[in-house]
Amino acid sequence: MTGVRLENISKQFKDSTALEDVSFAVKDGEFVVILGASGSGKSTILRIIAGLEVQTRGHVYIGDMLVDEYEPRDRNIAMVFQSYALYPHLRVYDNIAFALRVRKVPREDDPDRYRRRTREEIDDRVRRAADLLGIGDTLTKKPAELSGGQRQRVALARAIVRDPELFLLDEPLSNLDAKIRSSARLELKRIHEQLKQTFVFVTHDQSEAMTLADRLVVIDHGHLLQFDTPENVLSRPANQFVASFVGSPEMMFLEGRIRAANGGFAFELDPVRISVRGARAPGPVTVGFRPWDLTVAKTAGPGAFPAVVRGIERLGSSDLLFLELQGSGAPGAPAMSGVTVRAMSRAYEYEVGDSAGVTLAPDRALFFGADGDRLDELEGAPAGP
């Protein structure tokens, strides 16, 4: 039972950089999800922790131990592969027992010497792991005879049985049918709670990441963008990329300016005007919001975007409106025409072609600077009278 610490990890492949100065620390017993698109470097992180790849620069610590020079087998880490990588020639039982048979354990009478595990010890542990995952009836089968869900469980059992320091999981749910994927997700969470061990889990699926993670590492093009709890990643994204990558429905962005107003500052995107606390200078900013941060009314009152309903997506509990913003026509105002935003609303009040007014809840708006980073100190408030 240990944590993992990555310190300034960089990884160069022959003609590409996979990781650039990545650092983060996973606490003992924590479930950390590494979230990124394919090719972002997320699997490389996992493989570096495992020792299957070695970083070009930086250090990996497991617990307090520097493991840079350790072979995978000396790191006492279990890994679940995306393909499961079950040994096709072995029965399920032998797949699960494999690592137990390979690894020796310290002798009771003399901890400096090692012995093989006895048949009874192995049998006991294999059966307990199989029971935990409900695959007790498949033990005599070959992997090829199993369903996808069963294979995934065997892969998990093969990791659990070893009682490792650390679990690494490389998109273990992505090969499952959509139907069982969500139940497998819950089960994984249950197992983590039961084992109370450290899990590092890689995925490209942000809803999977949100459900599972105690904390979340968001990675893109080899750079760590944010390392925080799912709630914070969602509500306080580090930058525009994280904001648009995480959360569903996706965040929308509109570009405007911060101007001095009434002795303070305000965000202006004609006709919308939001007071901003914490701003120190005027300049261009981007405002980000999600569909539920918008209010739709039949008519565009003051401070609301005039818009036309272009589409309605009925989701059941609430519906999604696709609204095309209309330019205010005011001279010097940004050309908003043609921009489509989505808003949650009771759609039955609207039909395609209706005109409407869209208002943005000021305290929900997020502000991003020109470089894409979120301006943490800025906070929207309703405009003064």
């Binding site: 495992a50 299957l52 087998r73 890994m79 592969f81 990588a85 040994y87 020639h89 690592a99 390979v102």
Partner: protein
């Protein structure tokens, strides 16, 4: 409407008849020599000489005499021939496989400087016809005093096996995903351990195929053995078959030749027929996947 449908029906029937006709011709062509060999081997020797009479044999004319003569035959004894053939072919298969397994593993799963060049080198080498190596081998082995010795034949036979079997094993290993080996590394094995405990067992089928092919080559080799074996104590089945088949005694020993041929090829035929699907798959791994 009606006549057209009827015409199509006749067309289909005609096509079916033509298909069967073609296939029957092919089967007759394929089986006739086999039938001829079998029937001749069971025919009485004087009758076997007049071959046309053999084709539709009477039961009273069938005999095991040819087999008796082939097996109990002349000097050298059949057992000695068989023993030599098994020693040469068996050693070549065993040595060839051992080396091919490591070669395939190294070429498929490792990424070391020079790997590509070595693969190219092996492919080009494998193009050099093994028959043409007999000439230089003869002089090299004569200098080393290896002519008419067991190692003198086992070495070239094994060398031939290593090249093609190495390619066969490499191709097969390429089809095993890397993460199987990585899972074994995570489970606590070294790369060598992962090779022996995981990859090698997965390669048993292809190694079996390669061993079989490496066995059949020397087992039926005449060209090299003819040059390298000078004493009858080391004579092989293949050499002996050649000798009795080409001895100019008219057709009177057809029965013995065919009986000998059947005894010699029976184990090979059984193996081929039992694993035919597998053997064809292994030999065309590159082709069908293409």
């Amino acid at each position: 409407m009606m006549p057209r449908r009827r015409a199509r029906k006749w067309l289909r029937l005609g096509r079916r008849i033509a298909s069967h006709a073609v296939l029957i011709v092919a089967v007759v062509f394929a089986l006739f020599p086999v039938y001829f060999i079998v029937i001749t081997s069971f025919s009485k020797i004087p009758i076997a000489a007049i071959t046309a009479q053999v084709l539709v044999p009477k039961v009273s004319q069938l005999t095991l005499g040819s087999y008796q003569q082939a097996l109990s035959g002349q000097y050298p004894a059949f057992t000695s021939l068989l023993e030599n053939s098994l020693i040469f072919a068996g050693s070549a298969a065993a040595i060839g496989m051992g080396l091919a397994a490591f070669t395939g593993f190294a070429l498929s799963k490792f990424n070391f400087p020079g790997r590509r060049s070595l693969v190219y080198f092996i492919l080009i080498i494998s193009l050099f016809p093994s028959f043409l190596l007999i000439i230089p081998y003869y002089f090299m082995f004569a200098k080393l005093g290896l002519i008419d010795t067991y190692p003198g034949l086992i070495i070239p036979y094994s060398a031939g096996a290593v090249v093609f079997a190495g390619i066969l094993v490499k191709n097969y290993m390429d089809s095993i995903p890397d993460d199987i080996e990585e899972a074994a590394l995570m489970d606590g094995l070294s790369r060598t351990g992962a090779f022996f405990r995981v990859l090698l067992p997965l390669c048993y089928p292809v190694l079996g195929l390669a061993a079989f092919l490496a066995f059949v080559g020397p087992y039926t080799d005449y060209a090299l053995a003819h040059v390298f074996i000078t004493s009858s104590a080391k004579e092989t089945l293949a050499l002996n078959l050649y000798n009795i088949a080409t001895t100019d005694t008219g057709a009177s020993n057809y029965g013995v030749v065919t009986a000998f041929a059947i005894v010699m090829s029976l184990p090979i035929v059984v193996f081929y027929m039992a694993f035919q699907r597998y053997i064809i798959g292994g030999l065309t791994l590159g082709a069908v996947r293409g």
